[in-house]
């Protein structure tokens, strides 16, 4: 029963990592760029929701605030690409990485200046309620996390494989020039994917903030989520979720059964081992290298 409880709480945490990792994978899938600011976008989304719904701020109803925040962050992501990232078109991958790291710093500063550096918690209608299955206690917030994550992954997976826009996104990363010839507006497609990444980041942020508290440095969680994305296999949506859950589940078990101090290194040790033995992740998509 103890193990089951650890598993459940790990699963909920893992889903959050998985959601942030989804954002990484989305952008990687469509533009081959890595958005190191994904964690900070999550933080920003959470803070926008918090600013809209908390009683200390604008005090809107929760179910109005969340879609509003999602829409705002979607527009934010689109504009971010339109104004900043698009200029990096055709530049080296590492340059985009560095650019997004810097953008993350700026977002963290902006959120810290507006909302302060103290941890705050998001007021949700379902806070503090529990579900009990036998001896296992599951908070409603945790259940919401798991359900929302799985639903979002399925929707995104279908979006990428079934819809015209999703296929266009994949095409524009697989061969940019050919995608242009086929009449795909590659630049606009890339901006759309950044908007979509903003949307998933906000959902992750809302779920994360409802489970605990959020402060401007919460974006550093992005590093752990990135580890999850790489463990699962960069470029694979189910892989991102799988990696997130693996990282999330390992953490509580490590802190329960391994000496303190050693437990927090478990995800990174796993990441390092995966990279050494399976350099492209568990659900790898690279099978051969072109010259």
């Amino acid at each position: 029963m103890d193990i089951l409880q650890l598993l459940v709480s790990g699963l909920a945490n893992g889903c959050i990592y998985g959601l942030i990792a989804l954002g990484f994978v989305l952008i990687y899938k469509a533009t081959e760029a890595i958005n190191f600011a994904q964690g900070d976008m999550m933080m920003l989304g959470a803070f926008i929701t918090l600013g809209l719904t908390n009683t200390g701020y604008m005090d809107l109803p929760f179910w109005i605030a969340v879609p509003l925040a999602i829409a705002l962050m979607g527009v934010f992501g689109y504009l971010l690409d339109l104004i900043v990232i698009r200029r990096m078109f055709g530049e080296a991958q590492i340059a985009v990485v560095i650019l997004t790291i810097a953008l993350g710093f700026v977002m963290r500063f902006a959120a810290g200046t507006i909302f302060g550096h103290e941890p705050q918690s998001l007021e949700t209608p379902y806070a503090g309620q529990d579900l009990r299955f036998g001896g296992v206690v599951l908070g409603v917030d945790e259940a919401v996390v798991v359900i929302a994550t799985v639903a979002l992954t399925v929707v995104l997976f279908l979006f990428f494989n079934r819809t015209k826009l999703g296929v266009a996104m994949q095409a524009s990363s697989q061969n940019q020039l050919a995608a242009y010839y086929m009449g795909i507006p590659v630049r606009r497609v890339q901006s759309l994917i950044w908007g979509l990444a903003g949307v998933t980041a906000t959902i992750a942020g809302v779920l994360y903030a409802s489970k605990g508290s959020i402060d401007p440095s919460a974006g550093l969680l992005g590093i752990k989520a990135f580890a999850a994305a790489v463990i699962g296999g960069m470029g694979s949506l189910p892989g991102a979720l799988l990696g997130g859950i693996i990282v999330g589940v390992i953490e509580p078990f490590a802190s329960r059964y391994v000496a303190a101090g050693y437990s927090q290194i478990a995800p990174y040790l796993l990441l390092f081992l995966v990279l050494v033995f399976r350099p492209h992740g568990i659900l790898a998509q690279v099978h051969r290298k072109k010259v």
Binding site: T31, G90, A102, V106, F109, I223
Partner: protein
């Protein structure tokens, strides 16, 4: 405009391009040697700090700028250098002149060890693997308390060279000259490295691994050597950093420092020795300039001084964004362009430094 007329291969690998360039560098050397006579002890301390960051930057530059291997984990090797130096002095009782090079060697060996499993990784995967190493080493410092003093950290004793004690606060000028000597040695080594076959192999690996392999470069060995040299030099910087700050803890070597080091050399200009120095100047003098500016503004408005936390990082990040968008070659690249403009005046063309852009193709199958 100066036309350099090369009459032998020796000219091609010469230390300086022409006599006038050598003259400028000799003037610069005299200037920095005489600096303690001109500046107060605070500014000399800051200059020393700048030189230490420049050494660390050069270490990272060999890997990122010369060999094209991204590393987000160099704070780990700063830490290894700093701790190795202090531990060798305290536990083994070695003098600074022995422990300092040994610290570099240990950090270099650690880099080669890291390179063995990671040479298969490319680009972003390598960056994330080194990021993981940075986090692991930071945690390891806390865990290995008997060796490293855990959370409390360690105190670095004064440097003693043949009975002459050097302390940052008591005789800052001596510490400055010591750091300057190390910096000059590293610059000399770096410059020579670029002229050697190994340096050319680094550049070949950076530009295309497959072409390098076809030309007979042993790619894994070259990468491992790049890692070793890079981390070794960074380790030396770490050892100096330990003596500079007096006390070292795991918090001096967080993953944020790793990231900051990479950002630093990008601002300075990737692939050049000058870039490491320009980047270090930005990192060290930006906070000073900002606090100066803040005092000035609050003096103008008459209000109390306003402290905005995180402002330095944000300004640093915004400068970085501006550079990546508008000047990808960094401060040194901008300087090159300005110099060329005046050398060629009035024949400078706008697209002279323009780079070929490429269309993206994925290596993924789905």
């Amino acid at each position: 405009m100066r036309v350099v007329f090369k009459t032998s291969y020796d000219h091609d690998i010469g230390m300086f391009r022409h006599r006038a360039q050598a003259t400028w560098y000799v003037l610069l050397l005299t200037g920095v040697l005489a600096l303690p006579l001109l500046l107060g002890s605070f500014l000399i301390g800051e200059m020393t700090n700048m030189l230490i960051w420049a050494i660390a930057g050069m270490g990272l530059m060999i890997l990122v700028g010369q060999t094209g291997q991204a590393s987000l984990g160099h704070a780990a090797f700063l830490a290894i250098g700093a701790y190795a130096n202090v531990i060798l002095q305290q536990r083994a009782g070695l003098p600074f002149l022995v422990s300092f090079p040994l610290a570099g060697l240990i950090a270099g060996a650690a880099g080669v060890l890291l390179a063995i499993p990671t040479t298969r990784l490319h680009g972003i995967y390598l960056a994330i693997a080194t990021l993981a190493v940075s986090i692991l080493v930071e945690d390891f410092i806390v865990i290995a308390e008997p060796l490293t003093g855990g959370v409390g950290g360690m105190f670095a004793a004064d440097i003693t060279i043949f009975g002459y004690a050097i302390n940052r606060y008591i005789n800052p000028d001596a510490f400055y000259w010591l750091t300057l000597a190390v910096t000059l040695l590293v610059v000399y080594f770096y410059r020579n490295l670029l002229r050697s076959p190994l340096g050319r192999a680094f550049a070949a690996v950076r530009d295309s691994e497959i072409s390098a392999q076809a030309m007979g470069v042993n790619v894994p060995r070259t990468k491992a050597l790049a890692f070793g040299l890079s981390t070794g030099i960074t380790g030396l910087a770490g050892a100096l950093m330990g003596h500079y700050s007096g006390v070292i803890t795991h918090e001096n070597f967080t993953v944020i420092i790793s990231i900051q080091m990479l950002l630093m050399i990008v601002i300075g200009g990737l692939g050049t020795i000058h870039g490491a120095f320009f980047g270090a100047m930005v990192v060290v003098f930006l906070p000073q300039a900002l606090s100066f500016l803040r005092d000035w503004v609050s003096g103008m408005t008459g209000g109390g001084s306003v402290a905005i936390s995180g402002l330095e990082t944000a300004v640093f990040a915004m400068i970085l964004i501006a550079f990546i968008l508008f000047e990808p070659m960094g401060i040194y690249g901008r300087w090159l362009k300005i110099r060329t403009y005046f050398e060629l005046f009035p024949f400078y063309r706008k697209n002279m430094f323009r780079r070929q852009k490429s269309y993206l193709k994925t290596e993924r199958m789905r």
